[in-house]
């Protein structure tokens, strides 16, 4: 079989060399597969996290709307009362003249 000279002057069999290179590439592919699997898990987790956060935002928005509605009702009540009191004060001052 044909051989060639290696970097250190050693004789390298082509079949052995091809086998070693193939094995090395297979190891790199295997490593990449593991990394891709880990990234897929991470992507799934991130997607789930985003979905969860979006659901939480929907819930919080609903809660915010309810609470804010109650708050605005109270604000409007206070404003109405004050306006009523203010009008009453105006009428009282007019009648006192």
């Amino acid at each position: 079989m044909k051989t060639y000279m290696g970097h250190f002057g050693q004789t390298i069999d082509i079949v052995d060399d091809l086998y070693n290179k193939k094995t090395l590439i297979e190891a790199q592919i295997s490593m990449l597969n593991n990394e891709i699997s880990a990234l897929e898990i991470k992507i799934t987790e991130l997607t789930d996290g985003i979905s969860f956060a979006e659901q939480e935002i929907i819930k919080l928005t609903s809660s915010y709307n309810t609470t804010n509605s109650q708050f605005m009702n109270l604000v409007n009540t206070a404003k109405t009362r004050y306006q009523t009191w203010l009008n009453a004060m105006k009428n009282l001052s007019i009648s006192s003249w």
Binding site: M1, E35, L39, E54, L60, Q70, L74
Partner: protein
């Protein structure tokens, strides 16, 4: 949201409720903003992870192609190596066959030489025999030249010898008889 005058229109309970609701609205709003920020960060991380995955998948696909090429090269190299080994094996077999053929030729040559030697010896013996026969023939010829030729056997000679009753006065018959007996005796011993 409320002026002091407006706020003063509320009862104590309403004031507490107002404060509570106000803090709740603020907290919920803060949480929503925090969640929105978190979602932005998560989406950024997700985009980065997807990009990394895509890059790694691209690299993996390239490596798969390299691996396929290497696999093909490896298979071809194995086939070539096998073919070369078969060729070497065939050469070895040819060498072995040639060696056997040469041995057979040598054996045949030795046999031929032995046969030639035997033939030579036989020829030599034949030649010696022929020379001896020639020598004997010459001797016989010489003897015949000195003696008269008789085409009779010793028995015939004896039978044909003269009877004592018919004895003649001459000695010629006696001499001839003695000579014939001598020749017969000589020939007999030579055989």
């Amino acid at each position: 949201m409320l002026t002091t005058n407006e706020y003063n229109q509320l009862s104590t309970t309403e004031k507490n409720t107002y404060k509570t609701l106000q803090s709740q609205v603020s907290a919920i709003s803060g949480n929503i903003e925090a969640l929105k920020l978190k979602i932005i960060n998560l989406k950024t991380s997700l985009s980065e992870a997807k990009k990394q995955k895509l890059d790694k998948e691209t690299l993996r696909n390239q490596l798969m192609l390299v691996k396929d090429n290497l696999q093909n090269d490896y298979n071809n190299a194995i086939l070539k190596k096998q073919a070369q080994m078969m060729e070497e094996l065939k050469l070895l077999q040819d060498i072995e066959a040639l060696k056997k053929l040469q041995e057979a030729k040598l054996a045949e040559e030795a046999k031929r030489l032995e046969e030639a030697k035997r033939l030579e010896e036989a020829k030599r013996l034949e030649e010696a025999k022929r020379l001896e026969e020639t020598r004997l023939a010459e001797e016989k010829l010489k003897a015949q030249e000195t003696m008269p030729v008789l085409d009779t056997t010793p028995a015939q000679i004896i039978q044909s010898s003269p009877k004592p009753v018919e004895e003649k006065k001459s000695n010629t018959g006696l001499i001839l008889g003695a000579t014939a007996l001598g020749i017969a005796a000589y020939l007999y011993t030579q055989e």
